[in-house]
Symmetry: C2
Subunit: 404 residues, 2 copies
């Protein structure tokens, strides 16, 4: 008799955003007259930039013509896109990343879920707490997390690095030595960042203890302050210890268009084996490329027009972030994030738990947010709002919240 992967049975409940989706659908069904404002899931609302739309139309036309039709893409992705990434995201920031260290994918969620494939089952994993659930769930599926302890809301073998008010919502070097360290800056869900000097400490630490850093930089486009690094490869030695995950979802609104990439430097090795070659093998075996038309759309993001237009979109969302930040402040909430990130992290009022506040906000203000406890035990008593709504809805949501 065949056996399933028993690790799946250890996973508590369902994926956070599926649960929220279900709750919202049920509320809507029961209250069809209520107009909900969704500031929960990190999904964008602005349409794709004109330069991207135009590139998509052109690429679609190419696909309709025998002379320009494209079949299977090169394993790592099209050179035109990898070159644009290498030039704009790395060389321009002083980071020497080659095109064959860049792997085009269908998005950072797939990559952050799949990257564990190339690592052994006994690696000790360290994550921020609170944290993007995919890092933990994917490791749980691979049997790397031990057992889930319901009473603590924690996995027995995972090293949790609390990011609380006391630590300025950034992690501190863990006491127990990890093998794999997941870092995400600008952080999801707290919206916090660290400086380049602070990130350098993590790189130095990883090199010292022989850990690999999985660095999620999906929100780098939202950085507004000077000393915050846009890529971990701005740090010395990072190419020998870090993998970087990137996405087009938040800088160019590709949440429904699907494009991302992962950087695995050739210098990153384990006992002489290059992780670049392992990921290349995984990529070539279990994946068949992002669509040509979407890769062309991605390249359009790096054109002069594309840069200008997507920068305006980011500015639009960051204006929303300011509206939320200021609105909550003036309503008496304790708030952080929102300066270098599209996420605002607030303390729930009174003694409300995160889920109690979720229900309260849904019911009383018809605003959907994300319960902090869904991201880990240290998120309890916190709540995440995103700046990805429309300006009008964001203003309206704040008006409703102020009236509570």
């Amino acid at each position: 008799m065949f056996q399933i992967n028993e690790n799946y049975l250890k996973l508590p409940g369902s994926y956070l955003f599926s649960t929220i989706g279900k709750k919202v659908r049920e509320y809507s069904a029961a209250n069809p007259d209520k107009e909900l404002i969704r500031l929960g899931i990190g999904d964008v609302t602005l349409p794709l930039a004109p330069a991207v739309i135009s590139a998509l139309h052109d690429a679609v036309d190419e696909m309709g013509n025998a002379a320009t039709f494209k079949g299977y893409a090169p394993d790592l992705g099209y050179e035109f896109l990898r070159q644009a990434i290498a030039d704009n995201d790395y060389k321009a920031r002083g980071a020497n990343i080659e095109t064959d260290e860049i792997f085009i994918s269908d998005g950072a969620k797939s990559d952050s879920g799949n990257i564990g494939d190339i690592f052994g089952p006994d690696n000790k994993v360290a994550v921020c707490d609170p944290v993007y659930p995919v890092y933990i769930d994917a490791n749980a599926m691979s049997g790397r997390t031990g057992d889930y302890i319901e009473s603590l809301g924690k996995w027995s073998k995972v090293i949790y690095m609390p990011c609380t008010e006391a630590t300025n919502f950034a992690p501190e070097l863990p006491k127990e030595t990890p093998d794999m360290i997941y870092l995400c800056f600008p952080n999801n869900p707290t919206g916090s960042t660290i400086t380049k000097d602070e990130l350098q400490k993590w790189v130095d630490y990883a090199l010292k203890v022989g850990a690999v850093i999985i660095y999620d930089a999906a929100y780098e486009a939202y950085i507004s302050e000077e000393d915050v690094p846009h890529t971990i490869y701005e740090c010395k030695g990072a190419t020998a210890c870090a993998i970087e995950l990137r996405s087009f979802s938040k800088n160019a609104g590709f949440t429904g268009t699907r494009l991302g990439f992962t950087v695995v430097p050739k210098e990153l090795k384990c006992n002489g084996v290059s992780l670049n070659s392992l990921w290349a093998r995984r990529h070539g075996t279990k994946f068949n490329g992002a669509p040509y038309i979407v890769q062309k759309a991605g390249a359009a993001v790096y054109t002069e027009e594309g840069k200008k237009q997507t920068k305006e979109q980011v500015a639009y969302y960051m204006n929303n972030a300011r509206v939320i930040y200021d609105g909550l402040k003036s309503a008496g909430y304790t708030v952080s994030g929102g300066v270098n990130a599209p996420y605002i992290w607030l303390k729930t009022p009174g003694m409300m738990t995160s889920w109690e506040f979720f229900d309260y906000l849904l019911d009383k203000a018809n605003v959907v947010g994300t319960p902090g406890s869904g991201f880990g035990p240290s998120g309890e008593g916190y709540f995440r709002l995103t700046a990805f709504g429309s300006y009008e809805n964001t203003v309206k949501a704040m008006e409703r919240i102020k009236k509570l």
Copy 2:
């Protein structure tokens, strides 16, 4: 110190088609004046059908407009596409598959690689020999295949089901009982098929021994004979033992557009646990949907126009298959396949190995094919040609081969 997944180190050489690509690039570089005809990799050459192109343009316009812009897709994929699939691919064939048993993905390669995630590490895997390399490589990466025995070209723990001239290039029920059985009909690489009655025997066998069948039906659109099943769910009891993988690559030319789906029936269980729920969890955690525009393109394949146009494309390729089949026959080769599949399977002439014939054909006829031995030890002495070239090139390739 972090550890890698040691299973990757057991993999011999590189992915078959990457090796072929490298050989061809090297030959082209050394012989820039030679005009190569590529009948190797199963990549299509006809442009996307007009109905698909038109749907793509419309969907791109939707993405450029705030009112119709789409962000994250529903976890399983858009209902409009899953409904079209349920109606056309299943209900129309008497198979009762519900929309929540269909998971839209970025293609069958990803799905056939990732489906192993939901199964335990100790399952005994049975594959056809020769076979699409992804099934084995993905299982090797998960540690399910034992060690690779170079001298045999086999993995120590894998059950190989020889598909040779003696078995009419179809597998026979294995002597050793497997837990996971990979079947692909119409078959890649041999182009063979089995009848519905014969497939029913596999379903009955799987139900009897408690095995799960991973059924790859990526080539079902090429079936021309009446008694060949288009889906395994035409067989009685299959919803309790089979997962089906499907692709838009070969029926609608989506190799560079990326769309596929996997059917995991709710009835398929292991000790009371529904595999549908496990795959839903995997899908929701490590994947974030196929692009909206590509899902709209997929739906266009099921419109009256789309059906007519893609049927014409399939007919075009099947005419190529006939040209290859007849051409090789008249040149004295022993040939099979090509009737219900776009693949033609030929015996290498003289005492040539598959790779010797690959080099011979590349050098003497400038035709690229795929060595049968790349698909498994029983493929040695065989060679695969595909019908996916242009008609003109296919005719020209046959003329060159006839002259050898």
